[in-house]
Symmetry: C2
Subunit: 198 residues, 2 copies
DNA sequence: CCTACCGATCGGTAGG
DNA sequence: CCTACCGATCGGTAGG
């Protein structure tokens, strides 16, 4: 008897969550019904409940998987023997690549977390806060060492995180430039600014 | 007999739309019911329909008022006898101030436009596209004149617009820095970049 | 995995 | 501006 449902691989469940992420991103969590999702998966709505226990459980799965991935990355990058500015740039690049390669789930996590039920909402908001504080600390370290301009670190964090979330517009549109070019441009603008140094 | 309902001042209607903007921003358009809105206004749900014809009409009002304001601004700024980089900076500052002073409606317009019914959705998306093209043209002008780094202009537009939308996080949090400081910091980071010129 | 169904809530209308 | 109400749809369950 398997007690740990969560750790057992369940391909059907993964399909449901992947389809849900796609619908949640496109139409929003609230506007997506379990019947919409069932149709996408190819079953009746009632059958979904053999694999998931509620609609909000799907949202929890998506939001926390994304949050954990980013948290692991910032800790891994922070531990490296490189300068603070290099760390900030690496984290920025990680955000850009995740937004491109995993954009359904990352966008859902970014935009739909407000609909998490308690106590998950509070938990998610806390993780978010901790992540931003870690990011801000790296920027402050860079300011102290003279690599980074003397700006308000929390404001810089907000700009970095939200600028990257704009990639959704790029992903949906006709991609005139490729992913590598996009990453290069974003890093250029955010790290070096718009203005040319004369 | 007044045929033009739209142009007649209607303070009650304005209150309804302001309360709706606040609820739509906080909980999302779909998750806000007409009963929630009625309670906020202090009437029964049915009474709202004496002032508005549908829930989606409220969303239309908010989205297009915001879109028109930004469009007017970019045209006004573009016509000025100043450099392209100065124009870009002025537009950026306008976005920041609107996000701070009018943040309920601007945020609703930014995040909930997807729920506009056709043909308004298509109309809104077109206006959005035109706005971004105008913005991108100014950046390209700045690149040609040598004021702005050689980056992909549409990518720069996406970064500018989305970075500013992050102000919502600032607005909701304990405001450790004031609005002027926030504007100064955002312009610094986006125009001059994170990296200090050594 | 399905059929059949539940109570709750939705946007909106009729009529006064 | 209200009471009373409509059909549609929601998330979810029972039972097989």
């Amino acid at each position: 008897m398997n007690k740990e449902k969560k750790n057992r691989p369940n391909p059907r469940r993964d399909v449901i969550i992947a389809k849900a992420a796609m619908l949640f991103r496109k139409n929003g969590y609230v506007a997506t019904s379990m019947r919409d999702l069932a149709e996408e998966v190819g079953v009746e709505a009632a059958s979904l409940y053999n694999h998931i226990s509620s609609k909000s459980e799907i949202l929890q799965d998506i939001c926390f998987r994304v949050a954990n991935k980013f948290m692991l990355n910032i800790d891994e990058v922070s531990a490296r023997p490189i300068s603070a500015l290099e760390k900030v740039e690496l984290i920025l690049r990680f955000h850009i690549r995740e937004m491109i390669n995993n954009y359904e789930e990352v966008n859902v996590s970014d935009r739909e977390w407000r609909h998490l039920p308690e106590p998950y909402l509070l938990n998610f908001q806390n993780q978010r806060k901790i992540y931003r504080q870690k990011f801000a600390s790296l920027i402050e370290e860079g300011i102290r060492s003279g690599e980074i301009n003397e700006i308000d670190a929390p404001t810089a964090v907000i700009i970095m995180l939200h600028a990257v979330s704009g990639i959704e517009s790029w992903h949906r549109s006709v991609k005139k430039i490729d992913a590598d070019q996009l990453e290069k441009n974003m890093v250029m603008i955010l790290i070096h600014g718009l203005k040319k140094n004369s």
